[in-house]
Symmetry: D2
Subunit: 267 residues, 4 copies
Amino acid sequence: MAFLELNYYSQVLGMNQPMAAILPEQSGYTPDWTNDQLQDLPVLYLLHGMSGNQLDWQRKTEIERLLRQTKLAVIMPTTSLAWYTNTTYGLNYFDEFAKELPVKVASLFPQISKKREKHFVAGVSMGGYGAYKLAFATDYFAYAASLSGALIEDTNYPGFLEMEKPSYWRGIFGDLSRFPGSENDIFALAEKQAAKKETLPKLFNWVGQEDFLYEANQKAVSRLKKLGYDIDYHTNPGEHEWYYWSRRIEDVLKWLPINYQAEKRLS
Amino acid sequence: MAFLELNYYSQVLGMNQPMAAILPEQSGYTPDWTNDQLQDLPVLYLLHGMSGNQLDWQRKTEIERLLRQTKLAVIMPTTSLAWYTNTTYGLNYFDEFAKELPVKVASLFPQISKKREKHFVAGVSMGGYGAYKLAFATDYFAYAASLSGALIEDTNYPGFLEMEKPSYWRGIFGDLSRFPGSENDIFALAEKQAAKKETLPKLFNWVGQEDFLYEANQKAVSRLKKLGYDIDYHTNPGEHEWYYWSRRIEDVLKWLPINYQAEKRLS
Amino acid sequence: MAFLELNYYSQVLGMNQPMAAILPEQSGYTPDWTNDQLQDLPVLYLLHGMSGNQLDWQRKTEIERLLRQTKLAVIMPTTSLAWYTNTTYGLNYFDEFAKELPVKVASLFPQISKKREKHFVAGVSMGGYGAYKLAFATDYFAYAASLSGALIEDTNYPGFLEMEKPSYWRGIFGDLSRFPGSENDIFALAEKQAAKKETLPKLFNWVGQEDFLYEANQKAVSRLKKLGYDIDYHTNPGEHEWYYWSRRIEDVLKWLPINYQAEKRLS
Amino acid sequence: MAFLELNYYSQVLGMNQPMAAILPEQSGYTPDWTNDQLQDLPVLYLLHGMSGNQLDWQRKTEIERLLRQTKLAVIMPTTSLAWYTNTTYGLNYFDEFAKELPVKVASLFPQISKKREKHFVAGVSMGGYGAYKLAFATDYFAYAASLSGALIEDTNYPGFLEMEKPSYWRGIFGDLSRFPGSENDIFALAEKQAAKKETLPKLFNWVGQEDFLYEANQKAVSRLKKLGYDIDYHTNPGEHEWYYWSRRIEDVLKWLPINYQAEKRLS
């Protein structure tokens, strides 16, 4: 696999944006792909959580090695600390992810498929929220996975607001009392999408049993099921840590329709 | 010179922060420095403008080549779009630059001097504002240079607010009517520092005559002189573009007390 | 422009190979390209000299800034210290550049044109040798530029062998007495190509008058002209240094059929 | 932890050399280190195998995450395909690793300890050979670990020469019939060191039972024990793959005198 780091210019944000990517390539260590066959590639967007950036998945998991025999491109963008959201301070990260990024990726890497059924998104923590948000509010993604996702119904969820200063939360979501039902409420987005009765994105969910977001995820899964979403739900003992995400992302890869080729493990 | 890109963790911002750096090293292409002599190094912080990041100086100028025979470390951090300012949305970039970054640099690169007289800062546009702000509001910098700096007295300066949305400006500076005299007003900071009668930082200023910030800089220079600052001021025909900054940074290098060794140019 | 660093896997070399690239993109700072128009892009391969690698052009020149209004992709690969040559120690860098790299680039960046008339190559010093070698020995390049190129007729050229140990030179070129006429002799390659009477690549040549390679280039230009090559030759006072190459690469950009949009310079 | 990529200039090799590094830093996710305490740091050099480079450990394992609560610096250099050896073609990688690199690291990162007892080296495959070689032939390392190391007594070891062309092997090791007893024979180096009766480096060894190097390692361990080396030897079912090395490096971390703080794993 080729590993890339790049900076592109985001017109939506008005600044250079970093991104990392993994691209399948012909090599002695991959299956017998010819370069010519590396077209119309399925793609997985991997989203980071709070405090992270576009390099998190590379630095904290083994994602590249896991994928070395599977024909899948990976795009790792960054929202900085901004929740994949159109903030109240003028930085429109939701528009960046929902509108500009797919066009930019199609332009920079034309070998990546433009078809919805080949577009997948997964994220951890804040990025789990982001993954579901993009899946519910756009038509780009056929599969979305949340690991320890911040799938909250409102911002009063125990432990949530404590993570940062009030000014920070207002900056991201505006008036917090209006969060439920807003464009940042993933359940409102899920409902709206479900009402339109089109093909809904398939969902994957994992959360650790020691995670403060465990209850949120339990409730989220049940609510999304009721809305008609097909959701593959798992839980284990576990905390809000990359160790678990590094292991669980392999379950996501097995769940995706990508003919995942797992590595052989004799011990 | 060694060129580095890195991510460190900022506790002030609560996230991974990228940085680039240039470090003098013993090599066949540098003067006869032994590795042992590369201690207590003078350092120049280079600040980017709006839309840029920590790679701007490397991508758009020849800074590394210019410095190859001069014993100077260069630190290139990033404020993203946040004006080296403690924003109203909880991201305290001023604290990051004024408090955490110097300690972090001292920890990661102990060969860099901790003495004020060996600390310099320069920036372009928003980064010119940042360079003066850091020089006025901290005790870290002995020399500060602004190239086409956004040295505005208030945010109503013609053309200024038009660059971005109102929500963006409120996010950075809060209530704009209170900007003059605030902790974000570099003239207020300059006055406060001058009143304390200590050794003032030496200043360098350049602006192009076709720049919308030309008048702002004219006025800034005159005001800072009156406050007792020693300011080396230059202007030429020129616009708000990296071409000029790439050429003018060499004037800054000649101005700094670093025994700058200019490259030979036969044509 | 988007700036990329990547590692791909080279089957010819049997190892991960780094590469840097610049890709035109839609942005507020570029002309009115839509992402859709960024197809069939012309491409310039930039080759480094001895002691350098894939980052040299980015670190020592302003190439990215110069190109920001011109629709041209740039690929910056590396040969390490191996002269773009099939070495005697089993690392076949010529094959890498002549055979694998074009296919790899076409696979990773399908938006780059596959047409010879849109493929250009330029290099400095060892890379000038490499640029002409690739232009003479492959059918990929329509234009080739050498800046201070090591365009030697044999390895006894004054000052040449002194640059490294004999074991190094034998490693690269084998028995040096057989260099003239070999697959590493660019004049032999130029002759062979000219004899086939197809469309020859257009050539650009610059060398500084204080360069130890000045005489070699004088002679090379005259010999290549006699073989029927259209060669645009320039010289100035100058040494074997990146300062000159940084300035002269702009002349190369003006010479290429890329509708180069030079930046405005008021002073 | 801070993650760094850099290029330094190697005078021994005559070229820019890339390196990656992990440096402990004060952060909300690390123990209560103050920046001041991050001095005299123990360091682990991690060496890659054939086809890899300085990014292998970062791309294929979780080394950075594993170390996030342990005060240990990591240096990841590269030998390209050259076996940490003074090659016959003039590139002296052994000298680079044995002489220049320790001085360079001390210069760039003075916070890293200069004491032998705080210097450790580990590698995989070709890098396992390199780790032992550096431990036997220099006085820099107190602990050395080989994972699936190419610990061969002579190059006729079954399967060894088949990995590459004869010209490649001659380039690295010269006349292969003279390999035993030469400066590239780790057992000769081990003997010479043991004869001097100083404190010998402690050794760690792991190899997979399905690895073609399994017999070599069995024999190596027994031979090194006889020479008086303290060697911690392990084996499991396993092949010559990064999956195993990613898991086994944690055993190495537990074995090193670094007070390794393992992450909590509830499932």
